[in-house]
């Protein structure tokens, strides 16, 4: 009995840490609707800053707690600075474009932290006076755990009081409900957003600083925490701080007791909980249904003009003739570009025309790759057959997951796709007797006729080119228009007798199918596949490519894939390349807030001579 009680307390301490980070994310999303990847980076900065302050301030409680509070405030200021310098420029952009901006911030912070604090892990000081353990019912419970158990609810109380009894709090709650109305009532949104970012980042920094006695401070802290922070935020309901607390407690307690029964469950527990919660309560535990605001971004797409077609043909001709003068490596690089262009195009199909954001699209990419690899290894299946069949494996998964996902909307849909992808990843990772686990599957090389890089380049060009053309064509079929209808107004669709959800489901499956093709072409190009191809970073890559290129245009994902792949290849040869890549991405985001294609089109229009007005 005592054992379980102590385990319960342990879970509560972990819950407090998790709550602090998630609370900040919830607040930021609730008001600004920004999916803030950089939140993990602020958490990490909070820990590093707290360590630096604690070692410089006088020893003792003042030094420790002073360091914690000061670090949190500094991180808050950094967050506000990021908001003012970067994010303000992109508020008018399509919903998720800010995500790319925060992604750039993550890269910059990673290398900046490496530069400032060095590569080694740091084990920070313990809290003075709280570095022992007390016995509760005969079980050891660390004193610092008890402190955390107290701090979590205290912060919850403080934030709740802030939201209920101050003018700022009222404005935040109002903006969470209806941003446009708040602006119409004369509140300067810019300062409200900055203040909210300050608050959210302070909470993240506080979370990081409080972890110093428990964890070692390392450069991987940001990536290790961000996924779980998002899960907790979403499970609790975006914008609801009490919900974040509840979710944190739920997940931590389930983990604390789950590992007594099945130790490996930690790998996937949070995502499993998120999947279950989202299916049963689509807006999280305490979240409110999202109103589709009138300014919901709904780009129209136009078929290529004659000029556009000519340009496409010229490009095709160039690509066909390239092997005559380009080096072998250029062909390899371009094969990668083709694969990712198709991958990005398939994601764009559901994001642009479909209006459904997916954070887990890599699952279908990876499944296409794994289906081909498994068949090649176990059945000796030839490449030609598997290039044709593996997309169906990906489509089958999209069929299953899609049914659950399209019942949701907005960020919740995105997070459910993430949960689905993580479940697939965890299954592949754990089931190592079949999939090889993280040792992957090796030796998946093309058939002899396509074995040399030039032949494979043509094969990839043919397959990916045709697939991209097919996706583009689909966007202008009645099905494509139906998909857009489902995005723009489900009500009107129903009025003319069309099931919006069916269109979305079908679109999801189609996107999964094409992602599977990309995955199959990828695995034969590389010769091996690992669970990394199903993991979150691969999904983020696709998102960044789509958003960078611009969601407004069907060529956006292609341009984005080309730019991002080449940028990464070139810049990764330099020292501190993540910093440079992050800066480049931020520059693109600031200068071209509609994405590369949109921005270039805008600049082109500016350069045209003005037409005379009669």
């Amino acid at each position: 009995m005592a054992f379980y009680f102590a385990q319960f307390l342990t879970g509560l301490a972990s819950a407090s840490s998790l709550f602090l980070i998630a609370a900040g994310l919830s607040v930021i999303f609730g008001v600004t609707r920004i999916v803030n990847f950089a939140h993990g980076s602020f958490y990490m900065l909070g820990a590093y800053l707290a360590y630096s302050l604690m070692t410089r301030l006088p020893q003792g409680p003042l030094g420790f707690w002073g360091g914690v509070v000061l670090a949190a405030l500094v991180v808050g200021l950094i967050g506000a600075a990021v908001e003012m310098l970067v994010l303000r420029r992109v508020y008018r952009s399509p919903e998720l474009f800010q995500l790319v901006a925060t992604f750039g911030v993550v890269l910059v912070v990673q290398d900046a932290t490496l530069y400032l604090w060095g590569p080694e892990d740091i084990v920070g000081p313990r809290a003075p006076g709280l570095d022992g353990a007390v016995r509760i019912f005969g079980e050891y419970v660390p004193e610092y755990d008890l402190a955390l158990i107290a701090i979590g609810p205290l912060v919850l109380l403080a934030v709740t009081l802030l939201f209920r009894h101050t003018r700022f709090g009222i404005l935040v709650r109002a903006a969470t409900e209806d941003r446009d109305m708040v602006a119409a009532l004369g509140v300067d949104q810019r300062w409200l957003f900055t203040a909210v970012f300050f608050l959210g980042s302070t909470l993240a920094g506080l979370g990081g600083a409080l972890q110093v006695p428990r964890e070692s401070i390392s450069l991987l802290m940001d990536v290790n925490i961000i996924a779980e922070a998002f899960v907790v935020t979403v499970v609790g309901g975006m914008g609801s701080v009490p919900g974040a607390f509840l979710a944190a407690v739920l997940i931590s307690e389930l983990n604390a007791f789950g590992i007594l029964v099945l130790p490996e469950v930690s790998l996937v527990l949070a995502f499993l909980v998120m999947a279950v919660v989202l299916v049963l309560r689509p807006w999280g535990l305490l979240g409110r249904p999202e109103e589709q605001s009138a300014a919901h971004f709904a780009p129209t797409y136009r078929p290529l003009t004659a000029r556009g077609r000519a340009a496409a043909l010229a490009l095709l001709l160039l690509l066909l003739l390239l092997p005559l003068f380009a080096s072998r490596f250029t062909l390899v690089l371009l094969t990668d570009v083709f694969v990712f262009a198709l991958f990005a195009a398939s994601l764009h199909f559901i994001m642009g025309p479909g209006g459904m954001v997916s954070f887990g699209h890599a699952a279908y990419f990876g499944l296409g790759a794994y289906a081909a690899a498994l068949a090649a290894r176990d059945l000796g299946a030839p490449m030609e057959l598997m290039l044709a069949l593996s997309p169906f494996a990906a489509a089958a998964a999209a069929l299953v997951f899609g049914w659950f996902c399209v019942r949701l909307s907005g960020v919740y849909l995105a997070m459910l796709t993430l949960a689905a992808a993580q479940l697939v990843w965890a299954a592949v990772y754990q089931w190592d007797s079949f999939t090889g686990g993280d040792d992957g599957i090796l030796g998946v090389w093309p058939s002899p006729w396509a074995a040399d890089k030039r032949s494979y380049y043509y094969l990839a060009l043919a397959l990916c080119g045709l697939a991209i053309a097919a996706l583009r064509w689909a966007a202008f079929t009645p099905f494509g228009y139906g998909l857009r209808g489902a995005r723009d107004s489900a009500l009107r669709m129903a009025a003319i007798g069309l099931y919006a959800k069916r269109f979305q489901w079908a679109g999801f499956v189609l996107a999964g199918f094409f992602a599977g093709i990309a995955g199959a072409v990828f695995v034969y190009a590389k010769g091996s596949v690992f669970p990394d191809e199903l993991a979150i970073p691969r999904s983020i890559d696709a998102l960044v490519m789509v958003l960078l290129g611009g969601i407004e245009s069907l060529t956006g994902p292609l341009v984005g894939a080309f730019t991002y792949t080449l940028l990464e290849d070139w810049i990764s040869r330099l020292p501190y390349w993540r910093f440079i890549l992050g800066l480049v991405i931020l520059t693109i985001v600031i200068l071209l807030p509609e994405g590369i294609v949109g921005g270039v089109a805008r600049l082109w229009r500016r350069l045209q001579p003005r037409e005379a007005v009669a």
Binding site: P142, R214, D336, D432
Partner: protein
Amino acid sequence: MSRWWMMAALALTLAVGARLAAAGEIRIGEINSYSRLPAFTEPYRKGWTLAVEEINGAGGIGGDELVVISRDDGGKPANAVKIAEELVHSEGVVMLAGTFFSHVGLAVTDFAKHNRILFLAAEPLSDAIVWSKGNRYTFRLRPSTYMQSAMLAREVAKLAARRWATIAPNYAYGKDAVKAFRQVLGALRPEVEWVAEQWPPLFKIDAGATVRALEAADPEGIYNVTFGGDLAKFVREGKLRGLFEGRTVASLLTGEPEYLDPLGTEAPEGWIVTGYPWYAIETPAHKAFVEKYMQRWGEPPRTGSLVGYMTFLSIGELLKRAPARDSETLVDTLEGMELDTPVGRIRFREIDHQSTMGAWVGRTAIRDGKPVMVDWYYADGADYLPPDEVVRKLRPAD
């Protein structure tokens, strides 16, 4: 700072596009996860730079300069394959070296087999690299997961602990380590009982809950495979809850300075670990290495430094002894090659291409406020490998 200059020079070279090896040059391609794991890879780079400078200072390889083209794979196997492609076919390297992560190592292993190019894996510990996925063109320097687990198992077999619990990160490395430890200890002490196992996700351990779960099983011995951030959390929470009191703890890789030093005064004492006590090794070869390293870089060496140095020392020796520089000749020369290194004589076995580089086994202690290894000895890798018939069955039929 010289690293900046070197990288800038490399970038410039790449930009200018010197595609063909200039006369009087031998190019080696080196791939590692520099941005992902700077704690290991920065000392590693210093180590191999030192080795290359030494080789070139002594006249190079038969008058040819050894040029290393080093690239960052960012921890992604797909990137490593793309980079390998560029290094081999555009940069004209004669062989590949490096990698840290097991899955990146495996991807390059497969690339090496497919493209028939020699690959000397420096650090990746996965047993599969020389066994289940081994091939003619891949060699590995560092003692594998199996070897180091066996070193610990043999050491703890001498002690009384009979009820054992294991805690390892939930991925291939952790699983292989536990499997090897159980196999070797189980063979030496059949009466051993396995009372608990914990599998925290890599770098996401919920240390408090995990420690309590282990405590609940009341083991006499604990085998720990966590490292880095997980290790620090595990140590802290474990000490707070008295997990290690009166128990034998064997811990893989914990004696390495990269993992031991950050723990500082909180480092556990009395743990049986594998590691690298560079400060205490008295052999002339190693002392010379430490002196050279400290003179060049102004800081003490770490495990990464030793690995980087020995990798390129081996490559230098190989190129000097090989009658020709094509892959087949290089592979044939490297098989069975012996050379003297700071750790002593090592050999690249013909049977599985694993080098016999060993590790140091000892106990952790705190001296003058710093965590160190004491009562250590050097475990020669050759003594901790399974018998040949077993190895032959593990390797794929060539």
